[in-house]
Symmetry: C2
Subunit: 348 residues, 2 copies
């Protein structure tokens, strides 16, 4: 399964994507998820690791296990798909993970977007613990434009506020183009991700100004002060704050899910996955323009490159993905051994 | 029509909203717009002035006149509404203003959103010279959630770029709430509005870091360097840049309109209105949640206030609007005289 790149004890091994998916699948099943749920979570987590979204890759495995062990999330939940209007699908995730709920609703969503030109999927009672870009990229690969919004747990203060209200509240966007992989971005409404703050605290680094506030609401660059009763700030001042608020409205109020500040996992020690909601909007661009949409996006891409921007959103992920397809996904041998043990495989 | 607040020559007069609308309507008709177009533009421009969106209020009248005189925009254009799919409306503005095109498509859009739960309006070949919030607020007043995107003319550089590609590219959002006026925001993807740069240049002020670049692509806080072949920066670094790019894709590629960098008004001296596109997405929240949407938004609003944020997006506009309803819209007597002359009214 592994092929250490050299013989040193600290060498980095490489694992094929499908092997990593299989390993994670076994781990999730062992932790109490249904096989179908395990397959979806494993692919999601392995994709993030492969594409360099490390904070949503193998780094999250302990969190998945801890939250499943706490009883806070139901790894065997069967999502219920509700056909509520010609272009509107609702999914009750029934306290399960968001990605299986999204997968359950997708066939009906695609049917509706093909018939109507635009359609919406509203997921509630769902736990989203992964990156958001894997939820939109597949739609762009099928020729659609997709937007998604997910709220999380209160860790971001509103403008002028001292108490956290918003989650990191990412927005993800995907659009197909004629000359390459889709344009995809996935960005938090907070100045930083929670994981970045934890890593800075561990390493004793201070954060850039504008990252967060301490427990009194005063601005701080000390990651420990943010973690110790403080909170993150939105990116870009009041404009980022407005986007964070919009995500609460779209992902929670509109879906019937919980707001980030309503997440109460205090009765479940070890819980790590916010139980909130998610909104997905998918558009058929062929209904829109007189000219070919993917060619038009390509024209824009060309102009952005001409103006001096070297990389499009998503390009770094695609480069790492291609590299992983050639040589496998880099992984520390110790971590691989640990994961194999968790999966119940015999260790050497 | 006016009631100067005191007898000094520099006193501020006040004009009733309906009187200002009538005055602007006469001006626009005299400048060559159809009466229906004039009525829509007049209400839009007077609303911006009333609500304190000064940069899109009376400040814009010379621009409207100049662009109409240049022949770049057709003030008599009749928009063509196309019913392309169950939830998808297209409007060809036929080189007219965006707001009459939006008005022409709105009845069909509302029919579709009521039937489908979500619907989209894609406007192309349109000139948007107003604020964006007036396009979304009316939908929230009818109980819907609305999002709109409009691109403009190239004045914002991509990340790492030295040449402008994006317009200021605002996003506007509106949602109804149980206990007050709708939540509405309208924010550019650029760090500043073009008007703010011009005002700073006139007043000899420098701009905050991160506002723009000079003609070589180097960061500058000098507004003159931005205006003299330089460009604005996106707000919030690469995240704002990604939003600016998304707006180009949604407002231009998806609608069949022009990208900001394709606007070529060089053959029309005096042209000021970007001819691009606009996208509007309207959602019926009652299809979404088990709980009442407007009550849920109210819960969020309460929590934001508890956390210490004093004002919601839109609140300042509503306060000024209420004040204007009581005492009229403040206006300099000299400006009022000038507008009356433009409208062809006898002056004293």
């Amino acid at each position: 399964m592994t092929s250490p790149s050299n013989s040193s004890r600290e060498a980095i091994a490489h694992i094929a994507f499908d092997d990593l998916v299989a390993l994670l699948e076994a781990i999730f099943v062992k932790a109490g998820t249904a096989p179908g749920v395990a397959a979806i979570l494993a692919r999601n987590c392995a994709s993030a690791e492969r594409d360099g979204s490390k904070s949503h890759g193998l780094f999250r495995v302990p969190g998945y296990l801890s939250t499943l062990a706490s009883g806070w999330v139901d790894g065997k939940a069967e999502p219920v798909v509700e056909d509520v209007a010609a272009a509107f699908v609702r999914v009750d995730a029934r306290n399960g993970f968001a990605q299986p709920a999204l997968a359950a609703g997708t066939p009906l969503l695609l049917e509706k977007v093909k018939a109507c030109g635009i359609a919406l999927l509203a997921v509630r009672q769902s736990h989203h613990f992964g990156a958001l870009w894997p939820d939109v990229e597949p739609f762009a690969r099928q020729g659609f434009v997709a937007l998604s919004f997910v709220n999380s747990f209160a860790c971001v203060v509103p403008i002028g506020g001292s108490k956290p209200v918003y989650g990191t509240n990412p927005i993800a966007f995907a659009a197909p183009r004629a000359g390459g992989d889709p344009i995809v971005f996935d960005q938090a409404a907070s100045a930083l991700a929670n994981g970045d703050v934890r890593i800075a605290a561990r390493e004793g680094r201070s954060l850039p100004p504008g990252s967060g506030v301490d427990r009194t609401g005063a601005p701080t660059t000390d990651p420990k002060a943010i973690l110790d009763g403080g909170a993150l700030l939105p990116f870009g001042g009041y404009k980022g704050a407005a986007l964070a608020m919009m995500v609460e409205i779209l992902a929670a109020a509109l879906t019937g899910g919980q707001f980030s500040f309503e997440v109460d996992w205090s009765a479940h020690p070890g819980a790590e996955t916010p139980k909130t909601g998610q909104l997905l909007i998918v558009i058929d661009p062929d209904a829109g323009a007189g000219r070919s949409f993917v060619d038009r996006v390509e024209t824009l891409v060309g102009r952005i490159a001409d103006a001096g921007q070297e990389r499009l959103p998503g390009d770094r992920r695609y480069a790492l993905r291609r590299r992983a397809a050639e040589i496998g996904i880099p992984i520390a041998p110790a971590l691989l051994k640990e994961l194999s043990a968790l999966a119940g495989a015999p260790t050497d």
